[in-house]
Structure formats: structure tokens, C-alpha cells
């Protein structure tokens, strides 16, 4: 019958109206559902779905949760009550405490406040009324038109209510907060308390006639949400680990002769709370107790201190599920990351450090050669030759200007220390080594392979030393980046072939003492052949060396070049040991001697390779 058909249409309108309203409300209040909507490809109006055509309002796909809800609330006569609940995570316990006790974090108390309550009801008071034929024929059309208008006004009003601002903040992917918006849909609800009612206001949309009843929509909302402080869960300040010790493979029981002060380091962790007022302290990289904390443990803290964790005895974890995933990735990546930063750090090592007075590292066989080269706070020690065939880092001198000795340029801070530091002769010997390499190589130049070029660069977080070196060498900076970018950073760390010159695994430490001896002997041998020193003042020689180092062109990666020269180097050096960086002579005489021996070695290499050696009276 006509009436049955009409009533069927009306029922369909009412049913779809409820679904549509639910869709509009949840899309405008629940960040997770909003993200689902945003991830959809924007549809042209020509390709809208059937559900979108209802009420001429394209909202995109409904999330599965909405579909389930629609099904469960199919009784049209029952009211549909949609509560928008603000969940405020307890702020009395810091997220760091929650990290200590992950289980507690899950069950931590949180405040839940209904900030909006939408009530959609088909008020069918006149169930038994029978409309006339003329009324029914156009009634569903009018009902439909008015329903469209109501939905439009509801859609617009949702953007004007106080909850919308919180929704927008929470929807922002760049920040996480201590609150969340959830919803509850049911056909009944607990009444508000008096106190709650006092803070809320009600607005009722004009009902839409939908014979035999009418569609009623109302909202009770909190007039102000300023009481709920949205605290962004800021990332911890990112710092370069300036005194990283070594890789997880480092012997944790290895000790250093002296124990220096602690340096606070921290990591950027998305979702974690800011660090406590007293920054975590970590032992200095060459302090005696530091290595006891190594290698990295899976449950070590992520916030505030690196894996040394001597000052943070409890294992860390992250609070939210999201952070858990992120936290786990952090843990897995952290050793590599720290390894990476350490290598570069040692490159800039102690002479360039603004830290305390030197204290010698224990240069033991099997010890981390990177650490061994870290002599800013060490007494003068013998430093082995920097390169061997097993050395992973690639060096190729830039021989465009033979007189420049193409050593990596120093960072501005490092430059300051160049003239004033009194490093050991090992630094000079390292220059000899580099010069030797340069002598035998192709004109393509010497550079350090910063495989970390693949890493995410965080220019804001680099220390001055880092930035100085890297910028001058044209290589990327290595540092912690915030939030989601660090995830990719971590991945890149894994993906990239990290062939930093100070890659511990590739450096043959055991040969270092022998290499030093060999080097020393050969230096003496060459002394006789060297250019007389005394023609210019020693100070001038040092000054020239400094100038040389400063004006050295940027390092660049040249694996092929390295492999060629490393073999030559090995042949020449007789298995001389490990990578070294760029060390400044501690004394003028040492510097001069180093330079002389370096030149002599270069000449020898050149003579062997048949290259004519041009000797200059530089000194």
C-alpha cells in the first residue's frame, strides 16, 4: 500500500539520519576516526558512495566501529545517546615513573569527563495517528529536506562548540597530549550530577517533522574546557652524546684510569614526559665506572640518560602503546645510534672538547680504539696509526693542493683548541699516517665516509663541535631528531652501511701498540733524511700545521680510493693499527717531529710509487 511504502521510506530516512548524525559527530570529535577519514583519498562528488548521498553530505567511509554501532542501535524508537568523553590521564605520576613500572602505567588512574552529550531521538508520540493520503505523499520529502538542513546546521555547530578545539589539538599528529577523546554510544545514559549540569549548557535543534513522530536532536555541552589543561607530552631535549663511550661490544669491565665528571644526555622520545629537573648524569666516557654500564640492555632507560644508566638503576619503558612501539624501536636502535654519534664524536675528540683537563684512556689491546683516540681529557699517550686494511672508514685525500695535506677541517671549536692544546705526540704520528696514505693514493682526495648521510639530520640538536666539523666537511650532521622523524632516523641507521672511520668493529686495535712502535722507529729512520728543522722557528711550524689543518678541504667518501690505499698502507706499515682521527700535537716539538716524519713517509711512498717528490723548504 501507499502508506506502507511511505512509512517504509520514512523509517529509512530516520534510520539513515541516525547513522549520519553519528558519523558527523564522531568524525568531528574522535581523533582516531578523523584520521581514518583523512587517510581516505579525496573523492570527487561523482564517485561518492551510496551512504554519502544520504542527506547530500559526503563524509567518506565510515569506520568499522561506526558500522557496528549502527547495527547495534537499530531500534529507531530508542534514543541514541552519544557521549563525548574527555579522558585526562593522571598527571600526578610522571611518565617516567610509569616507565619504571609499565604495568602501573596501564592501570593508572585517569579522569573521565563527559564534555558533550548528544541525544538523537525519534519522538513517536502519535504512533497510532493515521495521516491522510495527501500528507504522506509529500511528508517524507519535506522530512528529508528538513533533515538535510538540520544536518547542515549540526555540522556547522560542531565546529563552534568548545570541544572542537580540543579535538583539533588532539588530531594534530605533531603532538601528543595527556588527554584523549573517546566516545560512548548507548540508548541510555546516567544523568549528570548537579555540579556537572551547572557547568553545562543545552541546545536543542528544532525537531523535524517525520510523521508520525519527529526527529529530535539536542546537545548538552560544557561551556568551557579551560579546566582541562592539555599538556603536550613534549619530547625530551635532544642532545648529541658528546662523551659516548663505545659500542655494545665494548668490554663493559674495561676501566679507565680516571673517572671524570658526568655529562647529562637525553634522548628525544615521543610521548615521554619532559625530564626531571635534575638531568640524568652519565659517567664520562673515559671514566672508570662507565663501561660497567655497557653494553646496552634492552630495558635500559630511554629518557634522560644513555645506556650507561648508572644513575638510573630502574629499567625504563614507555607509557602509551604508541610509545611502546616507538620505545622498542628506540631501544633496538640506540646502540647503533650511540655508536654512530660516538664515532663522530671521537673524530672531534678531546682536543676539540670543551670539557675538563685530559686524563689518559687506558689503551689496552682489544679495547675500543675509538675510545683510545679520545684524548681530550687524557694524558699524552701513544696513538696508533689511524688506518689499516681492516679499517672500515674510507680515506682519500684531496690532493688538489698537495701542500694542504687535506686533513679534515676542524670545527670552529676544535680550531680554538688547536693552538692551545698540548696533546701527545700521538697526534703528530697520526698525521704522519694520514700523510702516508695521501702519498700513495690517487688524486681523488681523502675523505671520511659518512654513511650517516642517510640519517635524518637534525640541525637544531647538534653540538657546536659536530656542526662545525660536519659543515666544514660538507657531511651531514648526526643527531637526534624529534618525534616521528626519529623513527626514520633509526631505520636509516639500520639501513645505512655505516662505514664511519671510527667504526669499532673494523679497527684492529690489537695492532696499535705494535704499530706505534713501528711508526716510531720509522720516524727515527726518516729523521736523517728529513729536511732540517731548525731553519724556521718551531712556533712557525706549528702555526703552519694549524693552518694546514684549517684549510684542508672537506673530506669525501671514496671507497675505491680507500681500498687501494689501505692495502698500500698495510704493506708499508706492516700491519699498523687503527683509525685515528685528527690529533693535535701537544707540544711544539712533538708537532714538528710529527710533521717531519709524516713528510718523510710521504716521500718514501711517493718514491716507491715512482712519483717524483718535490721537497719544499717549508720549515
Amino acid at each position: 500500500m501507499e502508506m506502507d511504502r511511505e512509512s517504509g521510506k520514512l523509517e529509512q530516512i530516520v534510520s539513515q539520519f541516525r547513522s549520519k548524525i553519528l558519523h558527523v559527530i564522531l568524525n568531528s570529535r574522535i581523533p582516531s576516526l578523523h584520521h581514518h577519514y583523512q587517510q581516505q583519498e579525496p573523492l570527487s562528488l561523482a564517485r561518492v558512495r551510496k551512504s554519502d548521498k544520504w542527506f547530500n553530505l559526503v563524509l567518506g567511509d565510515r569506520a568499522a566501529a561506526l558500522e557496528n554501532l549502527n547495527f547495534s542501535l537499530r531500534n529507531l524508537l530508542d534514543p541514541m545517546i552519544i557521549d563525548i568523553i574527555l579522558v585526562h590521564h593522571s598527571s600526578c605520576s610522571s611518565s617516567l615513573d610509569n616507565l619504571y613500572t609499565p604495568s602501573a602505567a596501564v592501570g593508572s588512574p585517569s579522569d573521565e569527563t563527559v564534555i558533550e552529550r548528544w541525544v538523537v531521538q525519534y519522538d513517536c508520540a502519535r504512533v497510532n495517528a493515521t495521516p491522510s493520503g495527501a500528507d504522506t505523499s509529500s511528508s517524507y520529502k519535506k522530512t528529508y529536506k528538513k533533515s538535510i538542513i538540520l544536518l547542515r546546521s549540526l555540522f556547522a555547530q560542531m565546529r563552534l562548540l568548545p570541544a572542537y578545539r580540543i579535538f583539533r589539538q588532539l588530531s594534530s599528529l605533531s603532538q601528543t597530549y595527556n588527554v584523549d577523546l573517546v566516545y560512548k554510544v548507548s540508548s541510555f545514559s546516567h544523568p549528570f550530577s548537579r555540579e556537572e549540569e551547572g557547568a553545562m549548557k543545552e541546545y536543542s535543534f528544532v525537531p523535524v517533522e517525520a510523521f508520525p513522530g519527529r526527529l529530535c536532536v539536542s546537545v548538552t555541552y560544557r561551556t568551557t574546557l579551560s579546566d582541562f589543561n592539555l599538556e603536550p607530552l613534549v619530547s625530551l631535549p635532544s642532545n648529541i652524546i658528546t662523551d659516548y663511550v663505545g659500542s655494545p661490544t665494548t668490554d663493559p669491565m674495561r676501566s679507565f684510569p680516571s673517572e671524570k665528571g658526568f655529562h647529562a644526555t637525553s634522548f628525544s622520545i615521543r610521548g615521554a614526559r619532559p625530564p626531571s629537573p635534575s638531568p640524568f648524569q652519565r659517567p664520562h666516557s673515559w671514566s672508570s665506572g662507565f663501561h660497567k654500564g655497557l653494553p646496552l640492555m634492552q630495558n635500559q632507560s630511554l629518557a634522560g640518560s644513555p645506556p650507561a644508566y648508572r644513575t638510573s638503576p630502574k629499567p625504563y619503558d614507555v607509557v602509551s602503546p604508541q610509545s611502546d612501539i616507538y620505545g622498542n624501536r628506540i631501544r633496538n636502535r640506540l646502540p647503533t645510534l650511540q655508536q654512530a654519534t660516538a664515532y663522530d664524536e671521537y673524530q672531534l675528540s678531546p682536543p676539540f672538547s670543551a670539557s675538563a683537563s685530559p686524563s689518559p684512556p687506558a689503551y689496552l689491546s682489544g679495547a675500543n680504539p675509538v675510545v683510545a683516540h679520545h684524548c681530550s681529557e687524557t694524558a699524552p699517550v701513544t696513538i696508533p696509526f689511524p688506518l689499516t686494511g681492516r679499517n672500515s672508514f674510507h680515506l682519500s685525500l684531496n690532493s688538489s693542493d698537495p701542500s694542504r695535506h687535506s686533513l679534515p677541517p676542524l670545527s670552529p671549536r676544535s680550531s680554538k683548541h688547536d693552538a692551545s692544546s698540548q696533546e701527545s705526540p700521538s697526534g703528530i704520528r697520526s698525521y704522519r699516517k694520514l700523510e702516508a696514505l695521501r702519498a700513495g693514493e690517487s688524486p681523488s682526495g681523502l675523505s671520511i665516509n659518512y654513511s650517516a648521510q642517510k640519517m635524518v639530520r637534525d640541525t637544531k640538536d647538534d653540538s657546536g663541535r659536530f656542526s662545525g666539523l660536519l659543515s666544514s666537511s660538507g657531511s651531514p650532521r648526526i643527531g637526534f631528531s624529534r618525534s616521528s622523524s626519529r623513527l626514520s632516523f633509526q631505520d636509516d641507521m639500520d639501513d645505512c652501511e655505516f662505514s664511519c672511520p671510527f667504526d669499532v668493529d673494523d679497527i684492529d686495535v690489537s695492532d696499535s701498540p705494535a704499530s706505534q712502535n713501528v711508526e716510531g722507529k720509522k720516524a727515527l729512520d726518516f729523521t736523517a733524511q728529513s729536511v732540517p728543522v731548525g731553519k724556521k722557528s718551531q712556533d712557525a711550524a706549528v702555526g703552519m700545521l694549524v693552518h694546514m689543518l684549517r684549510t684542508a678541504p672537506p673530506l669525501r667518501q671514496d671507497p675505491s680510493c680507500y681500498s687501494t690505499h689501505s692495502s698500500k698502507t698495510v704493506g708499508y706499515e706492516g700491519g699498523v693499527g687503527t683509525a685515528s682521527g685528527f690529533f693535535m700535537p701537544c707540544k711544539t716539538a712533538d708537532a714538528l717531529e710529527e710533521l717531519k716524519s709524516y713528510r718523510e713517509m710521504r716521500d718514501l711512498l711517493l718514491s716507491k710509487s715512482g712519483t717524483r717528490v718535490v721537497r719544499k723548504e717549508e720549515m
Binding site: L43, L45, V48, K53, N56, L57, V58, L59, K141, K145, K146, I148, I149, L150, R152, S153, F155, A156, Q157, R159, L160, Y164, R165, R168, F205, V206, V208
Partner: protein, 217 residues
């Protein structure tokens, strides 16, 4: 069919706020009268913490912006004057052509009056100060005054938007039926012309076309 008229609350805005305020109000009204298939688009105002909704129709956006530009030009030529923009919705009815009338007739079924009071910058404050309400209080710091003034304008704008929603909800019977394939009802945006008398003539013309006296509520 009655022509429903809505006089929106007067807003005091500065010159640089005109565009945003008018965009917000006009698009909100049209969105409620765009009963065809639309894909709503949220737009955040830059000057205020308000989000309004557009239909997502490019032509509509262009036309509204064009009218706003005309209005701004008019305001620049007529400083210190209260101004009004009229957004009208009509139906096109064909009628018998005669010597004095066209074949088609516009039946206005809804009119929205957006009332603005464009305040002048204190530097350009004219002698007719009683029209331009200078908000700046020399005693307050410029920043505080600006922020408080901005908050006032934002609150007023919100009130206007709520007024639109209320009006739209209360008056639905006069809205014509929806035509297939039509996204929004035909509309017209009337701005004051170069002279006040011309503006008045526009009003009279509209009355003649609609056949109903303009009801001021």
C-alpha cells in the same frame, strides 16, 4: 511563499578583518542553503579561532570573493559608514513577457543582512567620529587592547554564526524543494553601490521583483 529576512547582529570590524569575517558569514549561510550534494570543507580563520564550513564549490568561492572585493573597495571609498551586505536566495519564475518586465522573475524567499561597522585606524580617524567607534583606548597598551578587541570581535562573530544556525533551524518551511543536480539555490549578493541612493534603489527593485515588502525583523 514568504520571504524570510534575517538581520544579523552588527559587527565592528577593522578594515583588514572584513575579508575573513565576510567569508565566514557568507559561506556559512550558503552552506546551510546548499542542499545539493556537497563535500563540506572546514576552513580555519586566520585572525580568529573559528572554523567555518564551505560547500567546497570553487565557483561559489570565487564569486563570494569577488563580491567581497567589491565591498572592500566600496568601504575604502566610504569610510566611517555603516555598511550592509545582503545575501538573497531566490527562485526563478518565468512569467509572461511584457513591456516592462522580463521573461523571468526572481522570487526572493530569503534575505540575510550582514551589518558591518568598519572602524578606522586611529591615525586615519576622521572628523565624523560619532560614526566610527574608536576602540583604542590611549590608556591601555597597544597589545592588550588589540587582543581584547580581537577577542570581542571573535565572540561577536561566534554569536552571528550561532544566530545563523538558529535562524536556519527555526525557519525551514519557506525553503523551496531541492532540484536534482543543483547544489545550492540561486543567490545574489548585494553590496552598497557608490551612492547610498543607488543602494536604496536596489532595495526598491528587489521589492518590486519579489512582490513583497521587505520585512525588517
Amino acid at each position: 511563499m514568504n520571504c524570510e529576512v534575517c538581520q544579523l547582529k552588527e559587527l565592528e570590524v577593522e578594515h583588514f578583518e572584513i575579508r575573513e569575517v565576510l567569508r565566514c558569514i557568507l559561506h556559512t549561510i550558503v552552506f546551510h542553503r546548499a542542499l545539493g550534494l556537497v563535500r563540506p570543507k572546514d576552513v580555519d580563520l586566520e585572525l580568529f579561532e573559528i572554523t567555518y564550513v564551505q560547500c567546497g564549490d570553487v565557483e561559489l568561492e570565487k564569486k563570494i570573493d569577488e563580491r567581497i572585493d567589491h565591498f572592500i573597495s566600496w568601504v575604502e571609498k566610504h569610510p566611517n559608514k555603516k555598511s550592509q551586505i545582503c545575501l538573497s536566495f531566490y527562485e526563478v519564475k518565468s512569467k509572461q513577457p511584457s513591456w516592462f518586465t522580463n521573461k523571468t522573475e526572481r522570487l526572493y524567499w530569503e534575505q540575510w543582512y550582514v551589518n558591518l561597522n568598519v572602524t578606522q585606524h586611529p591615525k586615519h580617524h576622521s572628523s565624523k567620529s560619532h560614526h566610527a567607534k574608536v576602540v583604542v583606548d590611549p590608556g591601555e597598551s597597544a597589545t592588550e587592547d588589540r587582543s581584547s578587541r580581537r577577542a570581542m570581535v571573535e565572540a561577536s562573530l561566534r554569536e552571528v554564526l550561532f544566530q545563523i544556525i538558529k535562524f536556519v533551524n527555526e525557519k525551514k518551511d519557506h525553503v523551496p524543494p531541492i532540484s536534482d543536480g543543483v547544489i545550492y539555490f540561486p543567490y545574489e549578493i548585494t553590496i552598497p553601490s557608490s551612492s547610498d541612493s543607488a543602494f536604496g534603489m536596489d532595495m526598491i527593485k528587489r521589492m518590486l521583483h519579489s512582490g513583497h515588502p521587505t520585512m525588517l525583523s
